[in-house]
């Protein structure tokens, strides 16, 4: 029983990270109907920036903030410079552009920081809490991750539901042409959407970095899990992304604990295939409101 509780707690902790990755994919999909395969490269790059800063002696929190801010800027710049020309073009163009960007970012990171993985400090202790003489698989650092992701989700929901900016962003995502006729600067909204998404990705990067080490290809598997979570959540809804993230986290934790760590990626792919077969639109897909 304690093992089950341990695996559950561990799944929630990892799930929070997958949720952040899924959020970054969902935000971009909502705004521009593009699946951002470059996300793994983007969050790797900003995590490297945070690592450099911490490695030069700054505190963890300076690095943490630098990752988020550089994520914000990187997302905006990428949207403006390389994504803008393929918006509205056939979807395959955007897929190729984001894949190319992934390769480019990974190559650039290799040139700047080298190919060897570097260790990255956690936010807080990674020693599990002690409850009744048992050390659970859940540390203050894990708790921090869960709280931060919850705060980010809450902030996003407030932004979308309660502010004028959020209303403009949603209108731009659903009906860009109508939004423009109503005076919304749709291009700005897409840039903001990419910036926020990229920031959520960067958050996932620094949260997961202590356990995967920082290297040009270190985050590929995190992207696979995050992608699975996003598809499970329906690709459209931020709460769906978080529920998807936690679900994938739990499932993989059980797979890892009961079947062995070597089949974890297989487990993720099995979830992905199962979701696509049984409920291709995901758990949180919007009602069939479109096409009116």
């Amino acid at each position: 029983m304690t093992r089950f509780i341990d695996l559950t707690l561990n799944g929630i902790a990892n799930g929070a990270i997958y949720a952040a990755v899924a959020l970054s994919l969902v935000l971009i999909w909502r705004a521009t109907r593009i699946l951002n395969f470059a996300q793994a490269g983007m969050l790797m790059f900003t995590t490297f920036i945070a690592w450099s800063i911490i490695d030069h002696g700054a505190s963890y929190w300076v690095g943490f903030l630098a990752a988020l801010l550089s994520g914000l800027v990187l997302g905006a710049v990428i949207e403006r410079v390389v994504i803008r020309p393929v918006e509205g073009a056939p979807p395959l163009n955007a897929v190729i552009v984001t894949l190319g960007l992934l390769v480019l970012l990974q190559a650039a990171a290799g040139m700047i920081w080298g190919g060897n993985p570097h260790s990255f400090p956690p936010a807080f202790s990674i020693k599990g809490y002690r409850i009744a003489d048992h050390t659970v698989l859940f540390s203050p650092s894990d708790l921090f991750g869960v709280i931060v992701v919850a705060v980010v989700l809450g902030g996003l929901l407030l932004l979308f539901r309660r502010t004028s900016l959020g209303l403009r962003m949603r209108a731009s995502a659903f009906e860009p042409e109508v939004a423009r006729l109503l005076g919304v600067r749709v291009g700005h909204m897409f840039t903001i959407g990419w910036a926020l998404a990229s920031m959520a990705g960067s958050l996932a990067g620094v949260l997961v970095a202590p356990s995967v080490f920082v290297g040009p290809n270190a985050f590929d598997s995190v992207l696979v899990f995050g992608f699975t979570a996003a598809v499970l959540g329906g690709l459209e809804s931020p709460p769906g992304a978080v529920v998807g993230g936690i679900t994938v986290g739990l499932a993989l934790s059980y797979v890892s604990g009961y079947a062995g760590a070597s089949v974890v990626t297989l487990g993720a792919l099995a979830i992905l295939v199962a979701v696509l077969m049984v409920r291709p639109s995901g758990l949180f897909a919007p009602a069939a409101a479109r096409r009116v």
Partner: protein, 233 residues
């Protein structure tokens, strides 16, 4: 108020407008009539900048707006209700309305009451998502949302499309009322020529991208050849 000179629009090799010229005086309703494919929708889309004219001039209050970005036009007093209504199905009724007034600040709430006053059913359904509305209510929402921008010139594309005749007549009467009470100027694209002419001050008939007639409604309706050839009544 609006002056259009020699407007040419093309989609690749297909020419949608071939030298269209007309003027729309302030506080009038001008009906744009003609068969499918005559260029009515292309005309509105060119005026609001969704499609760029190949040549010609569009002047709003003496200012050339032919190159102005689409999202600027609402700030110059022009609102466009696109064909098929353009209601955003996933947003609530009130969110749709606020979106129309957002550019004026105040979270788009200024003027909400006036619109609810005009369209009582929208007030009852304010919290519902727009896809739950009936066709007539959606048209009310689309027009109400355009009015939230406090426009001086309203471009309307086929407001009576798919509506019961009684509802369509209501909408047309409302336009006449807004013209008389608030001095709103309307450019009304319609297939329903009879209905449109009943409220319009002037009618323009398009055929294959050209203006073939422009006159007072009574004169257009009195011309049998024109009626049979282009207006279908």
């Amino acid at each position: 108020m609006l002056e259009v000179t020699d407007l040419e629009t093309a989609y690749g090799p297909v020419r949608a407008l071939r030298g269209v010229s007309f003027t729309v005086p302030e506080a009038t309703i001008t009906a744009v009539l003609g068969a499918n494919g005559a260029g009515k929708t292309s005309l509105l889309r060119t005026l609001s900048g969704l499609v760029r004219a190949r040549s010609g001039q569009i002047t709003l209050d003496g200012e050339n707006i032919g190159r102005a970005p689409v999202e600027q036009l609402v700030r110059r007093g022009m609102a466009h209700v696109p064909e098929g209504r353009g209601v955003i199905a996933e947003l609530s009724v009130e969110e749709n309305l606020r979106l129309g007034g957002l550019w004026r600040g105040d979270g788009g709430r200024d003027g909400l009451e006036d619109v609810y006053e005009l369209f009582a059913p929208l007030r009852e359904r304010r919290a519902l998502e727009a896809h739950t509305l009936s066709g007539g209510e959606r048209q009310m929402l689309a027009i109400g949302r355009a009015l939230m921008a406090k426009p001086r010139l309203l471009l309307l594309d086929e407001p009576s499309l798919g509506l019961a005749p009684r509802v369509a007549a209501q909408i047309l009467r409302l336009l006449a009322r807004l013209r008389d009470e608030t001095g709103l100027t309307v450019l009304l694209v319609e297939q329903n020529a009879k209905g449109a002419l009943s409220v319009a001050d002037r009618g323009i008939v398009l055929s294959l991208g050209r203006v073939v007639a422009a006159d007072a409604p009574a004169a257009l309706a009195a011309d049998d050849a024109l009626r049979h050839a282009y207006l279908g009544f």
